[in-house]
């Protein structure tokens, strides 16, 4: 664990240094840029609250991808599942009006249901037609994209709006805020805790993990591969759906065009960087959110364009993923050399 942390920190630092190099080549001052970046995302309650709040959809979709990849299924349908979750939560929020204590859990459940419904379609396509979820989830993303666009343009269209969006959901479905902090973080943490417990302590999680590492071994060991596959697809779909529901309930309180943004693809990217580890996904999610949140401030204060953050993210992904294992290898090789010197002496 210690070595993993060092390797991750080192990777991030090298990536930041490379980012600085790129800025120098472009004629910007890297020090003041980084200062602006992190002061707008981490320094002070308000920036911190924004970073946390923006991290929620990244982390939840990241967890969805991590659990799926670590268990075997290549669920790449987080973008579509997020949108369907958001749509289900919006529908509930528009049609139901219950006391907040009931309303919020109901909408969260609806969001999860929406995501699970969408990933469940991919699971059924595999069960019935032996179609690979790698393809079907990607295709279902497109369908979800246009289906939700149609839904907010016609049946759910807010007549007073000038662009496709729904009316606001009922007040009872809005997530409470505590000062600058939105309670979507609490929901995310609860989901993280439940998922961690499931993955690391429950029988199902044990079977998922071992199936992900060696499916044939698990199958010979008596694990019901088919049932677990369906369960993993549903759970990871529900996580992405929850991300979508939280975006609606914490933010604009309605489904508007472009709501999903890049959250889900960034989540997949975070899962890759975190090597499908749950804690790693949480931490990298926070870090990437701080970059994205600080980008606005950086643009405001310095001349560096906000798109630079995307370059920086890409560099981080490459350095961390490529560096993983390489660092261990270097460390081990130097130990071997040392031993060789001792013996030779």
């Amino acid at each position: 664990m210690g070595r993993k942390l060092i390797s991750a920190l080192l990777g991030v630092l090298i990536a930041l240094a490379l980012g600085a190099l790129i800025m120098l080549l472009q004629g910007y001052n890297p020090l003041s840029t980084y200062a602006a970046l992190f002061s707008f995302s981490l320094l002070g309650w308000s920036p911190l609250a924004t970073t946390l709040r923006n991290a929620v959809p990244l982390i939840l979709t990241g967890l969805s991808a991590s659990v799926a990849f670590a268990s075997g299924p290549v669920n790449l349908g987080q973008p579509g599942q997020l949108l369907m979750g958001a749509l289900f939560a919006t529908l509930g929020g528009l049609s139901l009006d219950l006391p907040p204590l009931v309303m919020i859990p109901v909408l969260l459940l609806l969001a999860m249901l929406g995501g699970a419904f969408w990933s469940g379609l991919a699971a059924l396509a595999r069960h019935w037609f032996n179609m690979d979820e790698f393809i079907t989830t990607l295709m279902l993303n497109m369908i979800a994209d246009y289906f939700t666009y149609w839904a907010i343009s016609y049946p759910l269209y807010d007549a007073e709006a000038f662009s496709p969006m729904t009316p606001q959901i009922h007040r009872a479905g809005w997530l409470p805020e505590f000062g600058d902090f939105n309670s979507n973080v609490l929901v995310m943490l609860a989901a993280f805790g439940a998922l961690w417990f499931l993955f690391n302590r429950l029988t199902a999680g044990y079977e998922w993990r071992l199936t992900g590492q060696n499916g044939l071994f698990a199958r010979l060991g008596g694990v019901n591969i088919e049932r677990n596959y369906l369960a993993v697809m549903l759970v990871t779909g529900a996580l992405a759906g929850l991300a979508g529901g939280l975006v609606v309930m914490a933010g604009p309180h309605r489904f508007l065009k472009g709501l999903g943004a890049n959250y889900a693809w960034d989540g997949v990217m975070i899962a890759v960087v975190a090597n499908n580890g749950l804690v790693g996904t949480l931490l990298y999610g926070l870090f990437f959110s701080s970059l994205q949140t600080g980008a606005l401030g950086m643009e405001l204060i310095t001349a560096v364009p906000g798109e630079f953050i995307q370059v920086l993210q890409a560099v981080i992904v490459l350095v961390v993923v490529a560096g993983r294992g390489r660092l261990d290898w270097l460390l081990e090789r130097s130990l071997a050399r040392q031993k060789a010197r001792e013996r030779a002496a």
Partner: protein
């Protein structure tokens, strides 16, 4: 005599992070000798040869060829200097003919760089004649036997005019009948002035063939001996540091009720080929039945059908009277323990911890390992279970939480055996349970199998090692092209008889048993 022909001096090789594979090993090889390198698995035999051949770089030490210090960075350089190696797994182009494989990479060029086929064929035939290899240069490699392919590999090196041939476990892929022929060929090569380095852990072979023997143990050179001045007992003592315990096989108690009953089992693969044909077989309680056969004659398919990975086309499978022909795998596992030949692919998830690997199957069959009606794992029980395997089966591990892959092969197999045996099933399917294990671990596994028989369990043992089959089995059945061609009591069967059955599906016409 002052300058040795080929010498390795003070070779030190450390595999990262700190595994000492070779600890300052020094060996001299004489021209025109057959020099055997023996040792248990992991003793460093192959590593030493790979250093010589340029596949691995040593951390320190040097190699001298005819008094000149040499350093090979690749096999190509070693071959150019006259040192070639025949690997355990044979690397040839199946679709090419024998001569094409031999000249590949060193083709005689004709006009405009075109391959001069006639010239190539002539020089290959010349080499075949020179060393009396019985081989058709025009045959396709994919259609000739493994023994013939091995000859092609050797010829490939002779064609490149090497003076030193390294053979890594050359007899492992051969049947008992083919071994004398290989030995005759190697002796002819020696007569032709070649130096042959021969890696093996079959001591009988080594004693029969070699002139001198170097023994390695745990990366150290223990001795280099004249073959005429040593014997099997001394060699095995040097190899493992103690005398091998070879107790006479305990007399089998009369076997009990049938446990495994296979009736008329047939299996067709995805391409429609009949891979198992009308197989019938019984294993009784307290009985070990050995399955002999050249690899690829249906062993793989038999295992898959018994374990439920593939459904049979017809036939029945019963264990203790329960029909498992179409049962779910978990249902089978209540009555069948399974040790596979491929630990990394079928026997374990190597990156998971030892405890996680030990828990597999038990977590579903034994309520002790779960709480909440099976939903939650009982982590402490799992850990205790791993520790029980550690002590009961003598696994050496730092912690049950370390990754499975950090264990040595022998210890990995002990964990797998522990997991499967503690399922306490009436029937055990053991598919090459000692594959890749060193002599000490192999001995341990054999003892364990005999103990299981004494506990009245029924055991089906599939093995490519005839010696192992003869040592353990009560009956030996022979698989040939998907059919069982013989069912013999082990005490009265002979090695040659079984060898002939494996190769030809029938007994040898001039074999001792034929008349």
């Amino acid at each position: 005599m002052s300058v040795p022909f080929l010498a390795m001096q003070e070779i030190l090789k450390i595999f990262p992070p700190a595994v000492v594979a070779l600890d300052r090993v020094s060996v001299e090889f004489r021209p025109g000798e057959i020099h055997a390198v023996v040792g248990e698995n992991g003793a460093g035999k192959s590593t030493l040869m790979k250093v010589l051949y340029g596949l691995e770089a040593a951390n320190s030490g040097q190699i001298q060829l005819r008094g000149q210090a040499v350093q090979f960075h690749s096999p190509g350089q070693a071959i150019a200097a006259g040192i070639g190696m025949v690997h355990q797994e044979i690397l040839l182009v199946q679709e090419y003919r024998v001569w094409e494989n031999i000249v590949l990479g060193l083709e005689p060029a004709g006009w405009f760089g075109r391959l001069d086929e006639r010239q190539a064929l002539r020089s290959v035939q010349q080499k075949i004649d020179e060393f009396h290899f019985n081989l058709d240069p025009l045959a396709r490699v994919g259609e000739i036997s493994v023994a013939a392919r091995q000859k092609v590999e050797i010829l490939k090196l002779l064609y490149r005019n090497v003076a030193v041939l390294i053979l890594d476990e050359p007899t492992a892929v051969l049947t008992p009948q083919e071994i004398p022929q290989l030995f005759a060929e190697l002796r002819r090569l020696r007569a032709g002035g070649k130096t042959i380095l021969f890696i093996s852990h079959h001591l009988e072979e080594v004693l029969e063939l070699s002139d001198r023997i170097t023994v390695l143990r745990k990366g150290r050179q223990v001795a280099t001996l004249e073959t005429s001045a040593t014997n099997q007992a001394e060699l095995s003592r040097l190899m493992i540091g103690r005398e091998l315990a070879r107790p006479p096989r305990p007399a089998a108690a009369p076997p009990g009720q049938p446990v495994l009953e296979v009736e008329g089992l047939s299996y067709r693969d995805g391409a429609g080929r009949l891979r198992l044909q009308d197989l019938s077989l019984q294993v009784r309680a307290g009985e070990i039945v050995g399955v002999a056969g050249v690899e690829g004659n249906g062993q793989f398919e038999l295992v898959n059908v018994l374990m439920g990975l593939n459904p049979p086309e017809s036939g029945r499978l019963l264990v203790q009277g329960h029909d498992l022909t179409r049962a779910e795998i978990l249902e089978r596992r209540r009555r069948i323990a399974f040790v596979s030949q491929d630990r990394g692919r079928l026997g374990a998830a190597v990156r998971a911890t030892i405890t996680e690997n030990a828990l597999m199957t038990h977590h579903r069959l034994n309520p002790r390992f779960t709480r909440w009606r099976g939903w939650r794992l009982e982590a402490r029980a799992a850990l205790q279970f791993a520790r029980r395997i550690e002590t009961q089966f003598g696994v050496s591990m730092a912690s049950p939480e370390q990754p499975f892959q950090s264990l040595s092969g022998g210890n990995q197999q002990k964990v797998i055996l522990g997991r499967e045996l503690l399922l306490e099933t009436p029937f055990l399917l053991l598919d090459q349970p000692t594959r890749g294990l060193d002599v000490g671990s192999m001995e341990y596994v054999h003892e364990l199998i005999l103990t299981l028989r004494a506990e009245q369990r029924a055991i089906l043992l599939i093995s490519a090692d005839l010696e192992e089959l003869f040592r353990l089995s009560d009956r030996i059945v022979v698989l040939h092209r998907g059919r069982l061609v013989a069912d013999l009591p082990a005490v009265s069967a002979s090695l040659e008889q079984v060898g002939a059955l494996m190769l030809e599906g029938k007994e040898h016409p001039d074999g001792p048993q034929a008349d």
